[in-house]
């Protein structure tokens, strides 16, 4: 099902407007991750989709049907809450079958369907247990099965992985991806962990202060961030930000005059800061002082001091070189932002 959000406005009582003219489209069968810092409006947007909140203005459209004022019951939404909200007095089987019971499906049929769903989320051995007897990961899978059993138009997942430990997270997000592919249900999932989003989403919406900063695929977000916020939010370790004035003397190439005139901040991805072997793609050469080096797994991290700024690099091999050295900035992985934080096109750098 295609989902359209059109010109949404929403203001919580006594607060600044959260959404102003928010518009976006989710394609049928797409898995979209909603990321952003706390208070950016992720959960609010999810609640608007679910019908828990009604926007002050604008429309929510499912496949051409305006559902802005439709009740929760009529929207056919499957939702997994952050702490799952499983009915404590019902067994796992009854929890999963609950939506069908509400739809007056015959007992035999709904249990049959519930068993199929339980199979899909691999919870079959726990069918007779009660929610309080399950681990967090098991509860999450039950909630997922319950959300899927009525074949929802849209599946909404509110921080589905945040209460789980690292191993389980990876296993479950892979499962979510697999099931989403199998069922082909349009899915929105909220997360504050960009890793989850980057790993499984078709597209990612980056939200900040109620504004969509960018909606794009993982690769595009990383390689062509719309603005400084997105560049900073996506990527681990974070992008290095340096004032333009500090870098200006060290450029190895001629930059376009408009770029020079408008750029205020330079962003350099950690992997674009390499040991100095000048190549055609080198944009600048920065004289730096080595501060520290350490390795995390297969990644070699290096911090260096450049002017007033501490920079981090993942492209400097372990070294016993002198403390002062020169690092090259690769053009691919270097961005310029104007005073408002918008990314400026670099144009073709010429040597």
């Amino acid at each position: 099902m295609e989902v359209n959000l059109k010109h949404l406005n929403l203001t919580y009582p006594g607060q600044q407007p959260l959404f102003q003219n928010l518009t976006c489209t989710l394609a049928d069968g797409e898995l979209v991750a909603l990321v952003g810092p706390s208070g950016s409006g992720k959960t609010t947007l999810l609640n608007v989709l679910a019908g828990i909140l009604t926007p002050d203005a604008g429309q929510v459209v499912f496949d051409g049907t305006d559902v802005t004022r439709a009740t929760l019951q009529r929207r056919n939404i499957g939702m997994v809450f952050q702490d799952y909200a499983l009915y404590p007095h019902l067994s796992v089987l009854d929890n999963i079958a609950f939506p069908l019971k509400m739809a007056h499906v015959k007992k035999r049929l709904r249990y049959q369907r519930a068993r199929q769903l339980a199979e899909l989320v691999a919870i079959t051995p726990q069918l007779a247990k009660y929610p309080a007897q399950l681990s967090g990961g098991q509860q999450q899978r039950v909630a997922l099965a319950r959300a899927l059993i009525k074949q929802p138009a849209v599946l909404l997942l509110d921080e589905p992985l945040s209460n789980l430990d690292a191993n389980l997270r990876v296993a479950l997000r892979t499962m979510i991806r697999r099931i989403q592919r199998q069922t082909h249900v349009t899915t929105v999932f909220v997360t504050h962990d960009q890793n989850d989003a980057l790993q499984i989403a078709d597209r990612i919406i980056v939200l900040n202060h109620g504004k969509i900063q960018q909606m794009a695929t993982t690769t595009e977000l990383y390689q062509r961030p719309q603005n400084q916020f997105v560049a900073q939010f996506i990527g681990q370790p974070r992008i290095n930000l340096i004032p333009m004035t500090a870098v200006r003397p060290y450029f190895a190439v001629q930059l376009a005059p408009t770029l020079l005139a408008n750029a205020v901040t330079v962003g350099i991805r950690p992997e674009a800061l390499e040991s100095a072997t000048t190549t055609a793609t080198t944009l600048a050469q920065l004289p730096v002082r080595l501060v520290a080096q350490w390795s995390v797994g297969k990644e070699q991290l290096t911090t260096v001091q450049f002017a007033q700024t501490t920079l981090i690099s993942t492209a400097v091999p372990a070294t016993t070189q002198p403390l002062t050295t020169t690092l090259a900035v690769r053009a691919n992985g270097c961005y310029f932002f104007d005073a408002e934080g918008n990314r400026l096109e670099m144009g073709v750098p010429h040597a």
Binding site: Q73, L90, K150
Partner: protein, 304 residues
């Protein structure tokens, strides 16, 4: 401290701390209780000199054949059946309305709670006026709907009903507050989930509210049964120190009171007390048994 195991020394120390209350409880609660229990089996007993003739079941045989006791037992059972279900049903209805009330919720809660903190004697006096044959409020309403007035307090056919009405009203407050507290405990997200799962209002009530409220409803029921088995002061005040017209409001507790204070038959009263105790324990265990069947694992259970 956390790892310390109880020793003889620490146990003695703990005992010393609880000693004051323990002594008072033993002397004024447990001892009289045991004495009263034993007294039910005494024969030819002189209460003032504490001279015991012999031990026997004669007091219970007397109760078995006593028409007044049979009447009291019958009245009490009718009374319980009349009060408990209606009172709890009404309380649930009112608690649900209060839970969904947007305005004046606190004020209404206070109003419904008032009967509980008012002395039952004062309440009975107000109700005596309401029940009065000539100028009573209830008969005023009956007149409006063109029904013949009823002499509530002097007609044996209606006086037990009058008592039931008073006690339903009196027990509402506590039941409403308990049920309301329990309602407010139910996580709002269960309702959101149920709505998303397609449940309408009635389905939300039967599938979420009712099952999650069941433990509290049973608790309230046990409490209502115990409290109402012991009904006495409302009878005493409503009927001006009698058991109603033609003993129509004679309850077990009133019977016990009469035997002990009026007729000076402490052993019969004690035996009646034992019977009352037995009924209370029986009904409570029965309700607990039902509660056990409705039990579902709560949080804190370790997964097996």
């Amino acid at each position: 401290m956390l790892n310390s195991r109880p020793t003889v020394r620490s146990t003695l120390k703990a005992l010393l701390y609880i000693a004051p209350l323990l002594v008072i409880s033993l002397a004024f609660t447990f001892w009289p209780l045991l004495e009263a229990f034993a007294m039910g089996f005494y024969r030819h007993y002189n209460f003032y000199l504490n001279q015991i003739g012999s031990l026997s079941l004669a007091n219970f045989q007397f109760l078995w054949h006593d028409a007044a006791f049979q009447l009291a037992l019958r009245n009490t059972l009718i009374f319980i059946i009349g009060v408990v279900p209606v009172s709890i049903g009404l309380a649930l209805l009112l608690a649900l309305s209060l839970h969904h009330a947007r305005h004046f919720a606190k004020l209404l809660q206070t109003i419904y709670f008032l009967p509980l903190v008012t002395s039952s004697v004062a309440i009975a006096i107000v109700w005596r006026w309401l029940f009065s044959a000539e100028h009573g409020g209830l008969n005023g309403w009956l007149a409006i709907i063109n029904r013949t007035p009823v002499d509530w307090l002097n007609d044996p056919r209606y006086s037990l009903l009058a008592l039931i009405i008073v006690c339903i009203w009196h027990s509402l407050g506590l039941n409403i507050i308990l049920l309301l507290a329990s309602l407010q405990q139910i996580d709002r997200r269960y309702y959101l989930a149920a709505q998303l799962d397609g449940a309408n209002s009635w389905q939300q009530f039967t599938n979420v509210t009712w099952p999650l409220l069941t433990p509290m409803i049973l608790l309230v029921s046990i409490n209502a049964v115990i409290v109402n088995l012991k009904v006495f002061d409302q009878v005493y005040a409503l009927f001006n120190g009698s058991a109603g017209p033609a003993n129509a409001d004679l309850t077990l507790m009133y019977y016990l009171y009469q035997k002990f204070y009026v007729e000076d038959q402490p052993t019969i009263a004690a035996a009646c007390g034992i019977v009352l105790f037995g009924i209370t324990v029986g009904l409570t265990l029965g309700t607990l048994w039902v509660l056990r069947r409705h039990h579902y694992p709560q949080r804190g259970w370790s997964p097996s």
